[in-house]
């Protein structure tokens, strides 16, 4: 039993290797941009250790700089993490064998690559054990925290972030994320509706309201375009996993 468990942990760690390497630049980038946006090294590390969600951590950084109301920052983080609701609903039945305590822990680590690897394993007909799940999750989690700290310490040494374009890396990052969703249904009309509404709100009401107003327009437009009818949850989730 314990031999089997060790083998499962080792397999999970092997499966985590590619995503650990792939995510390293983003952990470093997050740390560097965090101090560039006025956070301390320990605040950046706290964010990585407790939120543990790359894209929404970047959104949080961006809004800290605009002096947005705290509830609006938290709400935007929630909105960007919304996709996890679908992951969570999909993965739930596959980890039905976990104890309640194990599930409580496992859901904390349900980041995009964790979901993708668990789905892949499940599709190969292999069961998802807690040992495999944590073998996959922990190396990714701890490397993310270490990269944040390294990036933040390194970011403190950069004297002219403007000349290096560092203040503009967040918009580029967000744009790349938007482009990554382009195969979703009605992506183009949603992005155009959100973008135009956001720009209008930016000039009429002012920052940071453009975020909520733009998002609401895009979401409402998506609902209008969808038409009526019902979908089973399973099918709804199979619209693809993005590497966010």
């Amino acid at each position: 039993m314990s031999f089997d468990r060790n083998a499962q942990i080792r397999q999970g760690m092997r499966d985590s290797l590619t995503v650990v390497i792939g995510a390293a630049p983003f952990g470093l980038l997050f740390g560097a941009l965090a101090v560039d946006n006025g956070m301390s090294v320990s605040e950046a590390v706290l964010m990585s250790a407790t939120m543990y969600a790359g894209a929404s951590q970047m959104v949080g950084l961006d809004l800290f700089g605009t002096h947005a109301a705290p509830w609006l920052i938290v709400f935007s983080i929630f909105a960007v993490n919304f996709r996890h609701i679908l992951y969570s609903a999909t993965i739930g039945p596959k980890i039905a064998g976990f104890s309640v305590a194990q599930k409580t822990i496992a859901f904390f680590f349900l980041v995009d690559p964790q979901f993708a690897e668990a789905e892949r394993r499940s599709e190969q007909g292999k069961s998802i054990s807690f040992a495999w799940y944590m073998g996959m999750a922990l190396p990714f989690y701890f490397s993310w925290i270490c990269e944040t700290a390294l990036g933040a310490l390194f970011g403190n040494l950069i004297s002219d972030p403007h000349a290096l374009g560092m203040d503009f890396l967040l918009p580029i990052y967000f744009l790349a994320l938007v482009m990554g969703f382009r195969r979703r249904r009605n992506w183009f009309p949603v992005v155009i509706a959100s973008g135009l509404a956001s720009i209008a709100a930016y000039y009429i009401i002012g920052s940071p309201w453009h975020v909520s107003v733009g998002a609401l327009f895009g979401i409402a437009f998506a609902a209008i375009l969808a038409g009526q009818g019902q979908l089973p949850p399973q099918e709804a989730t199979e619209q693809g996993v993005e590497n966010v």
């Binding site: 983003f26 894209a55 959104v59 949080g60 920052i73 000349a163 374009g165 482009m179 956001s198 409402a220």
Partner: protein, 102 residues
Amino acid sequence: MFDSGSSVVWIILAGALATYATRVGGHLVLSRFQHIPRRVMAALDAVPAAVLASLVAPAIVSQGWAEALTLAIAAVAALRFNMAGVLLVGAASIITLRALLG
């Protein structure tokens, strides 16, 4: 280690709770439904793209030519490259264009 009066720490902790809520919420709430209305599903599906597009859109028109051109170049680069590639192209573009256009 932390300034306990700092709102940044509290916002981070609230953000962490909100994030955990999304990760556990689908299992606790969404999986209880047999069927989800198509409009609700489409709205949920659109949330991330709508939020992120709203975040980036003002940067296209509010900053300058170097920034607007960089976003156009990055959008095209995103058709070909992964995230790391897009960031490299974007960084090269903003550094060059800011140096050229002032």
